[in-house]
């Protein structure tokens, strides 16, 4: 018997994918094309005068040393958000997976932060670290550490990483937990009978079986850190001190929505889109080879 589905007419499969295609066209390709078009224009705020400027918007960006510096900050930030976020979420998922009593309570509590808007997450963490009266800042001061994210770039970076990770951990946790629960118990039991330690069981059985989930989450987390964190930065550090936490997407948001420089902002989002596409391609070509499905 044949497993493949066969359509009798040629247009039915097209019709069935049409809604999805329409969504992708309207919500991805159309805005992307608009960004491309706007990136070669110089427009005033109200769109009253539009002038074709070619690649001038891009030239201006790459002549700006602070824009180049922003790449470095973004790389460090995305790496930290993805790495810290995945490790903590995996740890929490493994723990929650072992819990027998009150498991749903733990799960609910761990999923909560995902419902929080990024800007609220940012403000929440800002309150805790607002020196000198924020709860955490106060504790740090008591331990002899003078927390000052307003003037210390490392502290500022740490603050936005914490807020961004906290916000994303629930998502990672959910997928890890689902991945863990789909691992057959018989495998682990067999290994236990063979005398494998919990540590060894984890690294030789659980983690490899989780690799598709981990890979998927890695891609999602990097895209998240690249594109979805501007509200956190805007609410906590405004890109400061100096420009030390001005990640690329924050600059796109700031230039477009606050400074009303449409052309420059569009040019930056085109560059950002290019980077994310390139990163995703790289990940699928090289990292995916290590993934066992």
């Amino acid at each position: 018997m044949e497993k493949r589905v066969r359509f009798r007419s040629a247009w039915l499969p097209w019709l069935l994918v049409a809604p999805q295609m329409a969504v992708v066209l309207v919500f991805f390709f159309w805005p992307a094309a608009q960004a491309l078009y706007q990136s070669v224009l110089q427009q005033d705020a109200f769109g009253l005068s539009t002038e074709f400027v070619g690649l001038a918007n891009f030239e201006r960006l790459f002549a700006d040393p602070s824009y180049i510096a922003s790449f470095k900050v973004t790389a460090v930030f995305s790496f930290l958000v993805a790495a810290v976020g995945l490790v903590i979420a995996l740890l929490l998922a493994v723990m929650a997976n072992r819990v027998l009593r009150g498991a749903s309570v733990y799960k609910t509590l761990l999923i909560w932060p995902y419902a929080v808007a990024p800007v609220v997450a940012g403000v929440l963490w800002l309150f805790m670290f607002a020196s000198p009266y924020g709860v955490v800042a106060y504790a740090l001061r008591w331990m002899g550490m003078d927390w000052n994210h307003l003037l210390n770039p490392d502290h500022a970076l740490a603050l936005i990483v914490m807020a961004a990770v906290w916000k994303q951990i629930s998502y990672n946790f959910l997928f890890f937990l689902a991945g863990l629960q789909s691992i057959p118990h018989s495998l682990i039991e067999a290994a236990t009978i063979d005398g494998a330690s919990p540590w060894r069981r984890f690294w030789t059985i659980v983690f490899p079986l989780l690799s598709p989930t981990t890979f998927f989450l890695l891609v999602i987390n990097i895209v998240y850190a690249f594109l979805d964190t501007f509200a956190i930065v805007d609410a906590t550090t405004h890109g400061g001190p100096g420009k030390e936490t001005a990640i690329l997407v924050y600059k796109v948001y700031y230039d477009g929505f606050k400074a009303l420089d449409m052309g420059g902002s569009a040019a930056q989002s085109v560059i950002l889109m290019g980077i994310v596409i390139a990163l995703t391609v790289l990940q699928f070509r090289f990292v995916e080879k290590k993934v066992q499905y």
Binding site: A45, F46, G47, P132, Y133, L151, H238, K243, L260
Partner: protein, 439 residues
């Protein structure tokens, strides 16, 4: 048969067209950025006006912070449904002025509606800011504030300072800060709106140019000039105070306001509109003094520049609607109304009559300090102190924040930071000039 009924049908349609607006009120959309207690104030203004007549209905809508409501209005304008009235903050003024097709000058709105309108009735330093080089008033002065010096009288007493004598000059501020620190205050002095208070107002107050061409009031080819020896000296002074813990940086925008209201910081330079917040929420007695200055600078103190926002009328609406807008503005300009607003919010009075009325009522005597902002503003202005109107001003302010943060952190010399800020800002001014030249 068809022809016979056509005139009748036309007459009915015509009658309907004329009677409909007579029954229904004409709605006038007003987008603003006044949250909290100020939001209540705006709603009351609309309610009071709506109660005075039946033809028009002002509908105020809170659209988020100043930059958010401006972005929202621009998006709405592009989509063809902008509000009638839009509240725009002072740094957006140059952008609005450059977008002549998007707006209708207030003077024109009033004239066309046949509402009496005398530009000279408005407080000159405020109205002048919203007036084009040809003398035409472009937007309606609504909520203007200026920079003043707030201090904590209780903390002054505890530090052995005279609570009725706020420091008048920068050397006196440093002295007072030293005493406050000695009495155990961790944050003797801080500031909100660093660029506005320490560079823009500072320049006007010392009768020194912040930017060329009358601070951008006279043309688009203006360039920044706030890296003069006087500016460098001031930033060096503040940097030294930061090093010794006398000045504590508390963040961008108005983030520092909260640290003053909470009592953490004892002195702050910030908006005069902070008065209402202190009066309602602070657990100490607040005092207001004039902005500090350097006594050895000739011409200081001059006057301070305004902040806050004004109301712009958007283009592309019906004649009848503009009439309603004009009537609303006339209502806001009435001496009693404007005086009431001034006393309620701490914003500057809109008209001279409102100021005189407030003075006559004894309000300033009962609420000492509330007249400081007015006193600072009603002085005669010079070419260097009329106000600062620059394109891409939002970004220029952010650049100033960024460069000065490097100074407070001790990672950049004051001279270097100001030079860099001027250079980066001038690039933005050149771009604004290029984009708006032919208009």
């Amino acid at each position: 048969m068809k022809n016979r009924y056509l005139p009748l049908a036309g007459a009915i349609a015509l009658a309907a067209a004329f009677t409909a607006p007579a029954h229904a009120q004409t709605e006038i959309q007003w987008w603003h950025s006044m949250g909290g207690a100020l939001g209540e104030w705006v709603n009351d203004l609309a309610k009071d006006f709506n109660a005075t007549q039946t033809q028009y209905k002002i509908v105020p809508t809170f659209k988020g912070s100043y930059d958010e409501s401006m972005t929202a209005a621009i998006a709405a304008f592009r989509a063809g449904n902008a509000p009638h009235i839009l509240q725009v903050f002072e740094v957006g003024t140059a952008t609005m002025m450059a977008s002549r097709q998007a707006i209708v000058p207030v003077g024109e709105v009033m004239k066309k509606a046949g509402v009496t309108f005398d530009p000279n009735a408005y407080v000159p330093a405020v109205a002048g800011y919203y007036t084009a080089p040809n003398g035409q008033m472009l937007s309606f002065p609504f909520n203007s504030s200026t920079t003043v010096f707030h201090y904590n009288k209780d903390a002054f007493k505890a530090a052995g300072l005279d609570p009725e004598k706020p420091p008048k000059t920068w050397p006196e501020v440093a002295l007072a800060a030293g005493k406050l620190k000695a009495s155990g205050h961790k944050c003797p002095f801080t500031t909100s709106w660093v660029s506005w208070t320490q560079l823009e107002s500072f320049s006007a107050w010392h009768n020194t140019e912040f930017a060329t061409l009358g601070n951008g009031m006279r043309g688009l080819n203006t360039r920044l000039s706030f890296n003069s020896p006087l500016h460098v000296r001031h930033i060096e002074n503040l940097a030294n105070m930061a090093k010794t813990g006398l000045f504590v940086y508390k963040g961008r925008g108005n983030a520092a306001d909260a640290t003053f209201v909470s009592g953490e910081c004892a002195m702050i330079t910030g908006s005069s509109a902070l008065y209402g917040n202190v009066k309602r929420n602070a657990k100490f007695v607040g005092g207001i003094g004039t902005l500090p200055y350097y006594p050895d600078v000739a011409g200081a103190p001059q006057n301070t520049v305004i902040g806050g926002a004004s109301l712009w009328v958007m283009s592309g609406k019906k004649e009848a609607e503009y009439k309603g807008v004009a009537m609303f503005f006339a209502h806001l300009s009435k001496a009693e109304e404007a005086a009431k607003s001034h006393q309620r919010t701490g914003y500057l009075p809109v008209t001279k009559a409102a100021y005189e009325l407030t003075e006559k009522s004894g309000f300033y005597k009962q609420n000492p300090g509330t007249d400081v902002s007015v006193e600072q503003m009603i002085r005669k202005t010079t070419d260097k102190s009329r106000g600062i109107r620059l394109g891409n001003f939002v970004q220029i302010r952010t650049i100033n924040d960024e460069e000065l943060e490097q100074v407070w952190a001790g990672r950049k010399a004051p001279k270097q930071a100001l030079d860099d800020a001027v250079k980066r800002g001038n690039e933005l001014l050149a771009r604004f000039e290029a984009a708006n030249k032919g208009k």
